[in-house]
């Protein structure tokens, strides 16, 4: 127990430690801090859009900066570091090794995140998380744009270092008696997402450098005024970031694979099916990047190829959903807080996937592209699936990290409010998109349907805001003063906590 209150340690001992649970704790606290910061930006966006006209944000540039930093923060500074936190805590334990393979590299990968976060937040760029050229080259104000580019560059290196560490830990440091097929699915999820990072990320790393030199005026890769092609950037960007979507979602699915069998008190329906689905997803994720680009003027053949590639990812995701449901089927399910989050996550994962099939069908994409439909669609993944899986897992690992129990009632209220809020915001935004409202707009004409749906979404967002405030109070209070957890069986499941992955590492 890292934060064990009985034996408090000075903060610098944790900060300068290279032990995997200490680095995990640093990742955890950093990612949650950024989650609250990014979430606050989301609330200000929703408040602004409650009525047409200026509400709380006085100018369009500030609004554009807010949604840019909101997206960048929650993807790169919350979701990715949170997954690393869980991986750091549990991957070494699951493969029965004393630490990560390269402890110092692990600490370095973490310590690249705070400076990158500082660059992104102090710069506050305005060119969206996608940094579209030629806007980002000729029009976006510096130094914010350049600080964003450097921030992302640092985060990219951090991701690559972290991925190498996970791959080596799982493949090379696992206990010799443990065949790869017996490695738990959560560790498998880190193996597959890390492999995707290694293959996908270098492309964006190159594109970022090209973008920077374009901005400096020494090259013109993406600037049509000097013969470059902005669509080339779109290809490079999405070649990295479509697979990256799976990098974000796969660890969350892995976390659900830990929670669901535990609280269904039944083994996973098919571990083999889970492994196959992870492998399939990591391969197919590379076959669909240009489905983000139908509207850039791709040829009919290109669109067809990428539609098929996109649809090919659906069966693998569907295998996971089947596996979850089949695991719960006939189990003695205990609806504790982590299980509620996991079940909510499955429902929203299914909805997000169904909406994705609509986007990938070529003619329908021209209805939904760059509208609020897309905003609703990907938020059902990042919020509905990834955040739900992650928060569920956070409740699940809470006794392990703190030795104490969270307040169960508050945890359940947090779930109910978040679920209702998520449905209100993002299902409504799907419909709003069908009514034609473009995304990334500071203001909109007073069309009655648009106003009504924006207001429903804003109320939903405020409900999520309240639930997250309860969450923060619960975490802080319970970590310090919560009831001591029964470490053998905190949820009275009648089975040992973390069995069969006993902690083999010596107390730090």
């Amino acid at each position: 127990m890292v934060l064990e209150m009985a034996r408090p340690r000075p903060i610098w001992q944790i900060m300068f430690s290279t032990h995997h649970t200490d680095v995990g704790l640093l990742y955890l606290i950093t990612s949650l801090a950024f989650m609250f910061m990014g979430g606050a930006l989301a609330l200000s966006i929703r408040a602004e859009l409650f009525f047409p006209g200026a509400q709380i944000i006085t100018d369009a540039m500030t609004f554009n900066r807010i949604f840019t930093v909101h997206g960048t923060t929650l993807i790169f500074l919350f979701i990715l570091p949170f997954a690393s936190a869980v991986g750091n805590y549990f991957v070494p334990i699951m493969v029965r090794y004393k630490d990560m393979a390269y402890p110092k590299l692990n600490a370095i990968a973490f310590w690249m995140i705070p400076p990158a976060g500082a660059l992104i937040w102090l710069g506050f760029a305005d060119f969206t998380w996608y940094a579209t050229p030629p806007y980002s080259v000729i029009s976006a104000p510096g130094p914010a744009a350049d600080m964003w580019i450097f921030g992302l560059k640092i985060l990219g290196v951090s991701s690559i270092l972290g991925s190498i560490n996970f791959i080596v830990t799982i493949l090379k440091c696992k206990h010799p008696d443990m065949p790869i097929s017996k490695v738990p699915l959560l560790a498998w999820s880190f193996l597959s997402s890390s492999l995707i990072v290694l293959v996908a990320l270098p492309t964006f790393a190159a594109a970022l450098l090209m973008l920077l030199t374009d901005r400096l005026g020494v090259s013109g890769f993406f600037n049509p005024a000097v013969g470059g092609d902005p669509i080339a950037y779109a290809h490079l960007f999405w070649f990295t970031f479509h697979p990256e979507v799976y990098v974000l979602v796969i660890p969350a699915i892995g976390m659900m694979y830990e929670i669901i069998p535990r609280f269904s008190r039944k083994p996973i329906f098919s571990v083999t099916s889970g492994i196959i689905a992870f492998i399939l997803l990591s391969i197919v994720s590379f076959a669909s990047w240009a489905h983000h680009m139908y509207a850039t003027g791709l040829s009919f053949t290109e669109k067809t190829v990428f539609m098929v590639g996109t649809l090919a990812a659906v069966p693998a995701s569907a295998m996971h959903v089947f596996n979850f449901l089949a695991t719960m089927w006939g189990g003695r399910i205990k609806f504790s807080t982590p299980m509620l989050w996991a079940i909510g996550g499955i429902a929203l994962f299914f909805s997000a996937g169904a909406g994705g099939v609509v986007n990938s069908a070529m003619p329908l994409d021209f209805v939904t592209h760059d509208s609020y439909w897309v905003v609703g669609h990907f938020h059902l993944f990042v919020m509905g699936t990834i955040l739900f899986g992650s928060v569920g897992y956070l409740y699940y690992m809470f006794p392990y990290v703190t030795g104490r129990m969270y307040n169960r009632k508050l945890g359940n209220i947090h779930f109910v409010l978040s679920f209702v809020g998520t449905v209100m915001v993002f299902f409504t935004q799907h419909v709003l998109g069908l009514f034609g409202m473009p995304r990334r707009v500071y203001d909109y004409p007073p069309i009655p349907e648009w106003i009504a749906m924006n207001q429903i979404a804003t109320v939903g967002a405020m409900i999520i805001g309240v639930s997250m405030a309860l969450f923060l109070i619960n975490m802080l209070y319970s970590a310090a003063r919560g009831k001591e957890a029964d470490m053998n069986d905190p949820w009275n499941l009648g089975a040992k906590y973390y069995y069969p992955y006993e902690r083999k590492n010596p107390q730090h």
Binding site: P134, S270, F300, L311, A318, F322, D370, F435, Y442
Partner: protein, 144 residues
């Protein structure tokens, strides 16, 4: 591996999912093929996006800014480009959507059916006043 249960339901389920996807893909392919076929008598309108307004040039050389006048019952072909950054030309009511990319010309067509007014907007983030890069499509009665 002895799993103690049959995997048959999973295979049936995967089969159903794959069949559904094949149907969606085939339908989408077929419809897109029909939608992309530009009629030969379509009149040309050149669309240029720039920060933050739309310019339209008709076949006869007349230009309009922020407004586009067309006739119901005729087919029109848009050749879309941009002078500065990427925009996205969108008449949502007629599902006309294509990016205006500097250095490229993208083509899309439509045939308005009834007289009326429709919103034209920019669907791709293009900077400060992206939210107000709007215009109006006026469709007049056929033969008017």
């Amino acid at each position: 591996m002895v799993s103690g249960h049959s995997n048959m339901p999973e295979w049936v389920y995967i089969g159903v999912v794959v069949a559904l996807l094949c149907w969606v893909g085939a339908e989408a392919w077929n419809i897109e093929r029909l939608v992309e076929h530009i009629p030969e008598d379509a009149k040309l309108i050149k669309v240029t996006g720039q920060q933050w307004f739309w310019t339209f040039e008709h076949e006869d050389g007349t230009k309009e800014i922020g407004e586009l006048h067309v006739e119901a019952g005729k087919a029109y072909k848009f050749e879309i480009t941009s002078k500065d950054v990427i925009h996205s030309f969108n008449i949502h009511d007629y599902v006309v959507l294509l990016d205006a990319v500097p250095g490229r010309v993208n083509t899309v067509w439509f045939a308005p059916t009834e007289a009326g007014e429709h919103d034209i907007q920019c669907r791709e983030y293009c900077g400060l006043i992206h939210y107000n890069m709007r215009g109006t499509l006026y469709v007049s009665e056929a033969g008017a």
